[in-house]
């Protein structure tokens, strides 16, 4: 009977957050996050929760109850954020939408383990209180890690040299929310209701704004890329400002390097346009098969980057700013996901 009751409580406490995660994934019209990536984030969150449980248990015994209010939120938020930061750093998330989905998924995985551990701690509570508490915990963990994800995505695209400083406020906010949750400024029921009502509204707004900016960015950039690429392939590149700029470099760089710079520009544009075309097809509901020719293009890209060297790359930057967003597109393209 007790086992059955625990199972019901666990389901009631965790299933709604996975439903919320599913709803967020539906808002991801470009299908930026694959199911496999969501599962990986959930697995990371669960593993992080296990590690944190061991650390927190020992620390709580040694340091007392203040640790639960201040220490545990730092340890837990940093452990969840580590995965999101790794994704951002390796260009596996590129926009607020996918960073937030991965954040919610990691938080849901964390909450899953924490709710299992809490089953016996909150054994005496009623089913309704447990549901609100369990769901609230899951939403809090998902929400705080999503905040970290959104700030990490912004930091990556900020272009600021001190990206850690750009990302730090998000992590700090996540720790503060978590700490407030643990401090019990409100009753557990009030805190759960606040989180349950507040976070979905905030995230829906973030998602809609992010989708809008993504759509605009993709459309504008795709048109520019296609235009430049068409000028190159029809031999009219020299009529453009970019062409004139490249011509002017012939005086200061060896002709071979200028030639390779043009090739690098062309290959990069081709990869970028292909990636955006794949996003358009996904949005329309078509699956996109991996293209074996892409690997060869990436090898060529690497060769050309090496050939033109650092000076050539710097000179080419004004024509082709290889932002992390572009790199991320190419990365996804090469994965064929």
């Amino acid at each position: 009977m007790s086992l059955e009751r625990d199972a019901v409580r666990l389901v009631l406490g965790v299933v709604p957050v996975f439903a919320f995660l599913w709803a967020l994934a539906l808002l991801d019209t470009y299908k930026l996050v694959t199911f496999r990536r969501i599962l990986r984030a959930v697995a990371w969150g669960s593993a992080a929760a296990c590690v944190c449980y061991l650390i927190n248990s020992s620390a709580m015994r040694a340091l007392g109850s203040w640790y639960a209010r201040l220490g545990a939120p730092i340890v837990e938020e940093v452990s969840k954020a580590a995965y999101i930061l790794w994704l951002a750093r390796t260009a596996q998330v590129g926009f607020m939408v996918d960073a937030a989905i991965c954040g919610v998924a990691a938080g849901a995985g964390f909450a899953l383990v924490e709710n299992v551990a809490d089953l016996h701690l909150l054994g005496g509570t009623t089913l309704a209180v447990w549901t609100l508490r369990g769901f609230g915990t899951a939403m809090m963990h998902g929400g705080t890690t999503a905040i970290v994800g959104v700030s990490a995505a912004n930091a990556v695209h900020s272009g600021r040299p001190d990206r850690v400083a750009a990302f730090a406020p998000g992590l700090l906010l996540a720790i503060l929310i978590h700490s407030a949750w643990n401090t019990a400024l409100l009753t557990p029921l009030e805190a759960s209701i606040t989180v349950l009502l507040g976070l979905p509204v905030v995230f829906t707004i973030v998602f809609i704004r992010s989708e809008k900016s993504l759509r605009k960015w993709m459309g504008d950039k795709l048109d520019k890329d296609m235009e430049l690429l068409h000028m190159i392939s029809t031999g009219r590149f020299l009529e453009t400002n970019a062409g004139r700029y490249l011509c002017a470099l012939r005086d200061s760089l060896p002709p071979r390097i200028v030639g390779d710079m043009l090739c690098l520009l062309q290959v990069s544009l081709q990869l970028s346009v292909r990636a955006k075309g794949a996003l358009i097809l996904r949005e329309a509901g078509f699956s996109v098969d991996a293209d074996p020719a892409i690997d060869a293009q990436f090898r060529e890209l690497k060769f050309l980057e090496k050939s033109i060297g650092i000076a050539g790359r710097r000179a080419l930057d004004p024509l082709l700013p290889l932002s992390s967003r572009d790199l991320w597109e190419m990365h996804r393209l090469s994965e064929g996901e």
Partner: protein, 112 residues
Amino acid sequence: MKIKVKVAGKAAILSVEGRMDAESCGEFEAACHKALAGGAVNIVADLKSLTYISSAGIGLFAKLARHLKDCQGEMVLASPHGLVRAVFELTRVITIFRVFDSADAALAGLSQ
């Protein structure tokens, strides 16, 4: 952008002339839906006189192709050339369409 619509059996031929950009692609979408509402099952997009297509147009073609597929119909392309063909090919959106040299060839292809 100008659009001429001709009905041939269960297919509607939409001949597009000029430029298809973010502002004008709505006209093409409306014309397609009107043809479908009028009983057409398949659509031939005759792109012989289309000189420019932006990302908005490409996105619309992908969306319409999906819609027609869901309705057991098909959208095919006739005579895409120059920049328009290059855009379809570069983005690989062309992979979801059958492409014919002319509108007549497209009609013949649809009946097979």
